[in-house]
């Protein structure tokens, strides 16, 4: 159990870092939409619309690291599996 929790903690942290890097290493807050600007040729006004796009930020990383820390911490509640000695 202890080993499983540690593995899970590492997995959560690694997955979050990989996701964060793969989606553009956003160093701001997590966003769920992306700003799209379009130029109106007649008036010269830049129109703004939003397109759904998940872009995890540092809060996402922080939450993932906290979750990993909790899982690793929870692993301390369990003892190491001692090798069984069935020689008798």
């Amino acid at each position: 159990m202890k080993r499983a929790l540690i593995r899970l903690a590492v997995l959560v942290v690694l997955a979050s870092v990989v996701t964060w890097m793969a989606t553009g290493t956003n160093r701001g807050w997590t966003k769920t939409s992306q700003t799209i600007k379009t130029l109106d040729p007649v008036t010269g006004i830049e129109g703004i619309t939003y397109q759904p796009k998940f872009s995890p930020g540092v809060d996402f990383l922080g939450a993932a690291f906290a979750a990993g820390g909790l899982l690793a911490g929870a692993s301390l509640l369990f003892r190491n599996n001692k090798p069984t000695n069935d020689k008798h």
């Binding site: 807050w29 966003k31 992306q34 109106d40 008036t43 010269g44 703004i48 930020g57």
Partner: protein, 202 residues
Amino acid sequence: MKLNHLLLLTSLSISAYAAPQSFDFKDPKGVNNAIFKLDAPLESINGSASGITGTVSFDPENPAATTGKIVVASESLTVPNPMQKEHLHGANWLEVAKYPEITFEAKSLANVKTDGNATTADATGTFTLHGVSKDLTVPIKLTYLKDKLSARVPNLKGDLLVVRANFTINREDFNIQKGQYEDKVSPTIDLSLAIAGAAIAQ
């Protein structure tokens, strides 16, 4: 007698031409927008509002007489972070359910300079946000686009008026978290408006 008729017709046509036009800023193209920016330590909070309506009375022969009112639906304020948007609309910040409109009513223009179809001026009027009204003077640029409505909206003839304004307000002046979170969210808000209104030819 004929000369009198001619003079009368001429004066009537001049007065008809010189009459101020009413431009409607409800944009069928959905391009009109107001952008807001607040500095914050990690990342500035950038957002926009699209729910813009209002009318402006503009006389191309006398831009100094321009007056009007622009209304922004508070509910249309958007930021890309859903939690920030929820806070922005919520009871601690803009209270959009209680104060559904942000308005600017321009009453007079000063320092009016016209160059071709563009006019710059300082517009003085009443800005209302979060239920608080304050008199403000903001620099504006008006661009009159004669007969350009059909280029934007097919089957409609008329003129366009583009209004641009950039100015800064202090959120504390409008009772928005007065004296609170100044280390996290800037007390000043940069506003940028770029909107086009249409006057349909009769």
